[in-house]
């Protein structure tokens, strides 16, 4: 399910399935996308930040077009205890690999992988970043 911002419209609440993972996408070329994500974060229930949120920073191939500081996004990840993934959507190989990674994370968050919970996976990712 894709949304341009949060909160999601309440009219469809009763039809919506359970949300297992929220991926916030930030385009390094657009300051607006960062502001949008920051505003949307306020509408997310605190329980999601136990491993069910991640930030995806896209557009890293174009260093010359960047309008968002990478540090600012990393700090956002730290503040919300959620991992930050980096990718370049225009390169098919990286796009596919990132999609596979997100799919794997989703499987864990939905409880489909026995023995691994969203929270334990989240803390595993954070520790490997340090």
């Amino acid at each position: 399910h894709l949304a341009t911002s949060l909160p999601l419209p309440s009219e469809r609440d009763h039809l919506r399935p359970r949300i297992d993972l929220i991926v916030f996408m930030i385009d390094i070329k657009s300051k607006y996308s960062l502001k949008n994500v920051e505003a949307s974060l306020a509408h997310v229930d605190a329980s999601f930040f136990l491993g069910k949120v991640c930030f995806l920073l896209t557009g890293l191939g174009r260093v010359n077009a960047c309008n968002v500081e990478t540090n600012a996004v990393c700090k956002l990840g730290e503040t919300y205890c959620s991992p930050v993934l980096f990718c370049e959507l225009e390169l098919e190989g990286i796009r596919v690999a990132t999609a596979q990674r997100l799919l794997r994370m989703l499987q864990i968050c939905a409880g489909h992988i026995p023995g691994v919970s969203a929270l334990s996976f989240g803390s595993l990712m954070r520790n490997s970043d340090d």
Binding site: K29, S30, K31, Y32, S33, K35, V63, N64, A65, C66, N67, V68, E69
Partner: protein, 288 residues
């Protein structure tokens, strides 16, 4: 300080194309005359290679290399190196003056980050600025690359760095007939390219920057962000357009203007060192 404004006047009010240059190997200041001669011969040979020359009019390119000690930041910086190509038409020989057709100069202003641990044989002049035909730029560049084993690369300026520049320059003291602070944005993903030009009265821009900046002489990324956010918010209030989603391609102030393709124009000698220092920093980060 002791900068002779005459010597640096050639820099002002010209559009310079920017390049980053890796350190030059075995470059000797004492041999400037030799280098000028060699470069002249190289250019003459290159010109004979492909292009048809009009019969009867032979165009001589004269090369001049000179050092400019005035264009540097500290004593640790190398003095700037100026390359000038002039044309003398043989048809009207004795009475004609040489016409300057191309100029380029290498410089380093507070480039300690690069020159600090550099071995002795290397000369660090990371910023290269050119004005004139691209064909001459590529000939001069090729000769330097072959002779000193260095590498030239166009210096692009990201929207992040352009924002930094406009915030810094808008805060400079406005002179008499000050020109507007202008930001040009390009809107992505449209069938027809669309540019949005946002012009702000220089006094308003300076007033805004003064309320944002906490310590005079120091600028932080947060302050630049707040300054830009105010400008974006103001524009959105009036036009319902989020400029923060567009690409900032050019900034213009009365101090200097800069384009994301790596083209700058410096208008005030007073701020020349500051601008060159910023550009040197960008060149060094592109090299490293």
């Amino acid at each position: 300080e002791n900068v002779d404004p005459q010597k640096t006047a050639f820099v002002l009010r010209k559009a310079w194309t920017l390049y980053s240059v890796t350190p030059l190997y075995r470059f000797h200041r004492a041999r400037l005359r030799d280098y000028a001669r060699l470069l002249g011969a190289f250019i003459a040979a290159e010109k004979q290679k492909g292009l048809a020359v009009e019969v009867g009019v032979e165009l001589d390119i004269k090369v001049a290399l000179s050092s400019l000690a005035e264009l540097r930041g500290s004593e640790q910086d190398q003095a700037a190196l100026l390359v000038q190509l002039s044309m003398r038409s043989r048809a009207s020989s004795r009475n004609s003056e040489d016409k300057l057709v191309w100029s380029g100069w290498f410089c380093s202003v507070y480039g300690d980050d690069l020159s600090e641990n550099m071995p002795k044989d290397f000369t660090c002049l990371p910023l290269f600025l050119t004005h004139g035909a691209e064909s001459y730029t590529s000939m001069v560049g090729s000769w330097f690359q072959k002779t000193f084993d260095c590498c030239f690369c166009r210096l692009a300026i990201s929207p992040l760095n352009l924002s930094w520049m406009v915030a810094m320059w808008a805060g400079c003291k406005a002179d008499r007939a000050a020109s507007a602070v202008e930001l040009v944005f390009s809107v992505p993903r449209l069938p027809q390219p669309l540019n949005i030009s946002y012009a702000i009265h220089p006094e308003d821009a300076k007033a805004l920057w003064d309320t944002v900046q906490k310590t005079p002489g120091e600028i932080t990324q947060e302050e630049v962000d707040v300054f830009m956010d105010c400008l974006y918010a103001h524009f959105h209030r009036h036009f319902k357009i989020h400029l923060s989603a567009a690409k900032l391609v050019k900034v213009s102030t009365e101090v200097a203007s800069a384009h994301c393709d790596g083209i700058v124009k410096i208008l005030h000698s007073q701020y020349l060192p500051g601008v060159l220092m910023l550009l040197t920093e960008l060149a060094i980060s592109q090299i490293q």
